[in-house]
């Protein structure tokens, strides 16, 4: 019993002190590869990488993998600090209030700026309110059904006579948006049933409490490989490299492109030289073999694009999603 007790009672924690010491000692051993130059002005001591999600979640794991590589390159510790709350908005607001000196960074999810505002317009977070350091990676949503169910293809969903229940990982998430758009475009009758995150949603599909759900690939892959879940399609713009046989919604003729992108951002107004130095550090982190195998293990697709592209893409998604939900008359914040 209790998604809740588990969510509320146990202390998920974080870490800074020990992690800091560890990375510090690691850095001391590894040395500062690039040395001198503008390194005198920046960094001034440890660079904090904040995460708006709980420790142990996928965003947190990515931050830790990144921090390890980047701190080696910067020559200072990079502790990961979790400040979960309000889908990550709490951490985002905290970072925008920091001094723009590059000492405090945030690993931010695209859904916070592009999808959450569609459901919760108050206090929406805008990617333009930050200085973007670099894009990081892409995490795809996959539409799954239980292999025990009779729904094995998208056509089965369309042909179904019953009104389907689709599980979402929460209100204002990519999981909800992607399915609302698909169901609307394919004219499938369905009711959204929101759960609290990926794992309870998957449990609901496995137990056939809901007929279908969109889950981030990394969370569902074990069950897909184990034959418990059937992947129907992904919502990315190209086929996912880890699921080459599964078509995208686009290929099936539906205009639904929803993925979870992540980027590293700094407070607005961070000096260009500092941003450049940080970008170098993260590029070095991207280049390590360790980080590569991390991406592979977590089924993440590298999307290490520049700042301008991040802003263009994210702002573009927000606009197109806004247009689409208006076109199809979808209200993400209403029970149907």
């Amino acid at each position: 019993m209790a998604q809740l007790p588990s969510r509320k009672n146990v202390r998920r924690g974080t870490v800074s002190a020990l992690a800091a010491t560890l990375t510090l000692s690691a850095a001391a051993c590894g040395g500062n590869l690039s040395g001198g130059g503008d390194g005198e002005a920046f960094p001034q001591g440890p660079v904090t990488l904040m995460v708006g999600q709980d420790a142990g979640g996928s965003t947190d794991l990515i931050a830790r993998a990144l921090a390890e590589g980047a701190s080696d390159e910067l020559g200072v510790a990079m502790p990961v600090v979790n400040t979960p709350g309000a889908n990550g908005a709490l951490a985002a607001n905290e970072i925008s209030g920091e001094k723009p000196d590059g000492q405090n960074l945030l690993l931010i999810n695209a859904s916070l700026t592009a999808i959450t505002p569609l459901a919760v317009p108050d206090g929406a977070i805008d990617i333009n309110d930050f200085t973007v350091v670099t894009g990081v990676s892409r995490d795809d949503y996959v539409l799954v059904t239980a292999s025990a169910s009779e729904l094995d293809t998208l056509q089965d969903l369309i042909d179904s006579d019953d009104e389907l229940k689709f599980g979402t990982t929460g209100v204002g998430t990519g999981s909800q948006l992607s399915q609302e758009l698909l169901f609307e475009q394919a004219e499938i009758a369905g009711t959204a049933v929101p759960f609290d995150g990926g794992s309870p949603t998957m449990t609901a599909v496995l137990g056939e409490q809901v007929d279908v759900a969109a889950i981030q690939l990394g969370e569902a892959i074990g069950q897909i490989e184990g034959g418990e879940l059937v992947p129907l399609l992904t919502f990315s713009d190209e086929r996912n490299q880890y699921l080459p046989d599964v078509p995208t919604a686009d290929e099936e003729g539906y205009d639904v492109q929803v993925s979870q992108y992540r980027a590293v951002v700094a407070p607005k107004g961070t000096p260009e030289a500092t941003v450049e130095r940080l970008r170098e550090a993260f590029t070095a982190a991207f280049g390590t073999e360790q980080y590569d195998s991390f991406n592979e293990a977590n089924l993440l697709t590298a999307h290490e694009v520049g700042a301008d592209q991040v802003i263009d893409e994210w702002a573009g998604y927000r606009e197109s999603y806004q247009a689409m939900i208006e076109e199809y008359g979808i209200d993400l914040s209403e029970e149907q």
Partner: protein
């Protein structure tokens, strides 16, 4: 079941490195269990970077040790300080601390250690045998079943407290109300958040529990000049007497089974099972009035159940890849870092890891039993410090501990607010237990109920069409109606005699 790979699993555990990390894990677990505010999930998060360099099975053996070790340690402060080290030891406070005041702290700790050992061991054996079978059963628990369970739990809350029934109900209602704070999960609407993002996800359980139980108690004690956080002078006679053992044996047996079953449920766990085990013992007892006044079953049952549950909560993770609670989520994360994705294929692809971890729990529980009885003396010595020193330190640890959970200054303020509320409740005779427990179950009840109604297209009779939720609701109805009916019958009995004589 593949017996040979299970036996090979023992070979894995008995490697010196793995034994050493198992020992390290359980010692750390016990320590964080003793310290209120620092829980197993936080500890695992802190130690996660250390596991990068070691073998997956070794890493998980250590992290698992932290988890169940904390269940042993959490008891100690519950009994000695009336300050639950872990949420799952909250109910142990009721009888454990009373026993300590009666000079039977040693007996309470001893029986808790023995119960934990039995519960843990029973649970591991059952895990080994039933893991595949159980997995299918756990999935049958959907929103309607959780709704019924939460309702039953809230009803049980009223029987847990020892103040008046009415005051317990009032406290439980306040708990339910507090659970409504936060952004509505289904519509995104703000409820009682006052535009504060810190309240958007609702109030967190930890600051409420720490404030009401921890700070509230210390304040109340200071007012009484009774030095509330005083450890008993002596913990003599850690080994429970034969009579104690006989009295507690039934509770330990039932607690093992109940804890095991509740721990399997996704999201289930040590906290709920300890509460349920306590309530069950109180219900079953021929002398329920002893509960809350130092009944040894009141310590044995929840401590057995929480350890059994913490072991069995590995089942959904290892068989389905579903973390049952936040600590399991941390271990899930640790496995992913190691490149192992937990799921249905784990048992066939990585039998060494599966059985290595499962079998390490036998060893870990034996280590804990061996250590905890002699170490009780040591922990007591740590805790036997004057309250003028201990109270401020406890407050400090509480505040720091609460901060580390979410790195949130707001939570520190919450602890203080709920500390004052806890103090006032205590002063006016309200039991804090029902408030805290109703708070936990309240959000579960709300979200499960609304989810169920979405699934049933708004038809409330849907609950009765599913076997498990239907049965649970039937039990609920019986629990409500039976005492009422009995009371009515007793009152009506004379009247009926009159009626029948009229006819």
């Amino acid at each position: 079941m593949d017996l040979s790979s299970m036996i090979e699993g023992f070979g894995v555990v008995l490697e010196p490195t793995n034994l050493l990390y198992c020992l390290i894990g359980v010692v750390i677990g016990m320590l964080v269990g003793v310290l209120p505010g620092l829980g197993p999930a936080a500890t695992i998060a802190i130690l996660l970077p250390l596991t990068f360099g070691i073998e997956p099975v070794t890493a998980i053996i250590m992290l698992a040790g932290i988890f169940y070790g904390a269940q042993y340690g959490g008891t100690i402060t519950s009994v000695l300080l009336r300050l639950p080290g872990e949420a799952s030891s909250v109910v142990t406070v009721f009888d454990g601390h009373v026993m300590a005041r009666q000079g039977r702290a040693g007996t309470a700790l001893g029986i808790a250690a023995i119960g934990s050992f039995v519960g843990g061991t029973v649970s591991i054996v059952a895990l080994s045998l039933l893991a595949p079978v159980i997995a299918g059963f756990a999935l049958a628990f959907g929103p309607p079943e959780y709704t019924a369970l939460a309702l039953l739990g809230i009803l049980l809350v009223a029987t847990v407290g020892n103040g008046g029934r009415v005051k317990a109900v009032i406290a439980a209602c306040v708990g339910l109300l507090l659970a409504t704070v936060g952004r509505d999960m289904f519509t995104g609407a703000e409820r009682f958040t006052f535009d504060s993002l810190s309240l958007a996800d609702g109030l967190d359980f930890v600051p409420i529990a720490m404030g009401i139980f921890g700070i509230g108690e210390i304040l109340h004690g200071l007012e009484e000049r009774n030095q509330a956080a005083k450890a008993p002078a002596k913990v003599a006679n850690v080994w429970p007497s034969l009579a104690d053992l006989r009295q507690a044996s039934g509770a330990i047996g039932r607690g093992s089974v109940l804890g095991f079953l509740l721990g399997i449920l996704p999201g289930g766990g040590a906290t709920l099972s300890s509460l349920a085990a306590y309530a069950m013992e109180k219900r079953r007892s021929r002398t329920p009035e002893r509960f809350g006044r130092g009944a040894i079953e009141g310590v044995a049952a929840p401590e057995t159940a929480n350890n059994a549950a913490s072991t069995s909560s590995f089942i959904p993770l290892l068989t389905l890849g579903i973390p049952a609670n936040a600590t399991m989520a941390m271990i899930f994360g640790a496995l992913l870092i190691q490149g192992v994705s937990p799921g249905p294929q784990l048992l066939s692809e990585e039998p060494e890891l599966f059985w290595g971890v499962v079998n390490s729990m036998y060893i870990g529980n034996i280590l804990l039993l061996i250590m905890s009885i002699p170490l009780v003396g040591l922990f007591v010595r740590i805790l036997r410090v004057r309250s003028t020193i201990l109270a401020p330190i406890t407050v400090l640890i509480t505040l720091v501990g609460v901060y580390t959970v979410r790195n949130s200054v707001f939570d520190i303020a919450l602890v203080i607010v709920f500390g004052v509320i806890g103090y006032l409740m205590k002063k006016f005779g309200f039991e804090p237990g029902p408030l805290v427990l109703a708070f936990v179950l309240g959000s579960l009840l709300e979200s499960s109920l609304r989810r169920s109604l979405l699934l049933f297209d708004g038809d409330p009779f849907g609950f009765l069409t599913r076997p498990i939720s239907g049965t649970l609701l039937l039990v609920l109805a019986v629990v409500i109606v039976l005492p009422l009916a009995r009371a009515l019958l007793r009152r009506r009995a004379p009247e009926r005699e009159l009626e029948s004589s009229d006819v």
